[in-house]
Symmetry: C2
Subunit: 249 residues, 2 copies
Amino acid sequence: MGTSALAGDPGLDRLLMKMRARDIVDAREEDVLRDSVAEVRESRAGRIIIRAGAMIGGCTLLLDGLVCRYRDLADGQRQIMELHVAGDFLDLHSFLLKRLEHHVGAMTPVRYAIVPHQRVREITERHPHLTRLLWFQTLLDAAIHRERIISVGRRSAVGRIAHLLCEMFVRLEIVGMTDGNRYALPLTQGDLADATGLTSVHVNRMLKRLRDEALLTFRGGQVAIHDWDRLQRVAEFDPAYLYLERLPR
Amino acid sequence: MGTSALAGDPGLDRLLMKMRARDIVDAREEDVLRDSVAEVRESRAGRIIIRAGAMIGGCTLLLDGLVCRYRDLADGQRQIMELHVAGDFLDLHSFLLKRLEHHVGAMTPVRYAIVPHQRVREITERHPHLTRLLWFQTLLDAAIHRERIISVGRRSAVGRIAHLLCEMFVRLEIVGMTDGNRYALPLTQGDLADATGLTSVHVNRMLKRLRDEALLTFRGGQVAIHDWDRLQRVAEFDPAYLYLERLPR
DNA sequence: CGTTCCGTTGACGGCATTCAAGGTCCGTGG
DNA sequence: CCACGGACCTTGAATGCCGTCAACGGAACG
């Protein structure tokens, strides 16, 4: 597939790893995906990649970096709804929604690929199984959203943070981006607060508690998990919502 | 379409109203949907319709009644993630997820139709546009989830309740189930608390405040909105996330 | 070498929870 | 007919988790 803008890029491979953790993706489907990429772009940390309300012509596949979906409220508060890592589509839902009600912002320098909506549309016309695989990815986002609702709705402050860090560990493990019990999560404590519905001050205290209780360390954008079992219990983390079963979809 | 189990049922018509608020659904697609229904079932208030973790063979379309998706936590707390009204698919996502990580429970007596996964699969093989319309419905659920994350994460207690009651008004209006500024929402204050991440005691106080400020009345499962503009402002409610535009999808 | 962003910690305050008691409504059965 | 129980609503008082305000330290950067 020499025409691909992505030949050998690890970003697309990570998407395939995510998909193959849940179903079979055959070589032809892989080629279709590779050939669907129109171009690769970059952006700097702090930039908005996709602006809320803007009409969108293509879906964005994150190749490298950390990204979040968020919205700002009238009083200046911010809520991060989801974090995205390499291999994630940032806005596959834009294919049918046409515009988004939230921003998509880069937390780090990022590289991403564009898949024009027209190509996705062609996939829905010609490749039913691949269509279902893409649909499935958006259902995964929704399941992650639901878990976040539970976190901010009912979990304690430590629980929320612990849960988020458990989730990111598992999601990064799927795409081969963990290093033993450690992984990179280049966020500030303020970002973590916006993702968990807390304040940065309180996040700071809860991180200290998690450290003191030898559950995990979060420092300099690096997470080290010291006691996975106890952490999971504190977070009430059950990875069932990530649907890590290879089933025909 | 005399073979349909649903000939003339208002439940399926409500699904069509939802879809037609966002795109065109032609007569052939309407027939395909009608013919996809295998059977109609009923259930009593308080019953679980779909149990978390169970393998699922068909999708459920709510014809009548009020339903919620929820999960219970270890300490007995409950979080409701979404409310469903007639015309909503309760578990279209089960088509690809195969099982759900949350329960689906009846808040009132309900009637619902079953669409076997096999039929949905056939739609994805033969009817790309109808497939996109179904996919779109699941994306709408995700958008509603995101709005709930913002509510429980960052909105005040009054704001959360106000927002939920704004949302239900608009969603019920789409399917023709409002009566001027009033609509039926047969929930207890405890249910409302589980949906907003509050306690029933506090919900009670906030409802009193909304009443005292002449914004809305919630009593006996009936909502009456007295000042939509001010309520919208209190809730910071912007219906953009419901994607009420007729666009080719 | 000042500026800025981030992390850390303490004191205080407030919103929501918890605990508790009493009220209403309604279906059930004596 | 009415006593009774149960589910839900209402309200007050006390508690507590998390937020706000504030000050300071360190690291990165221009």
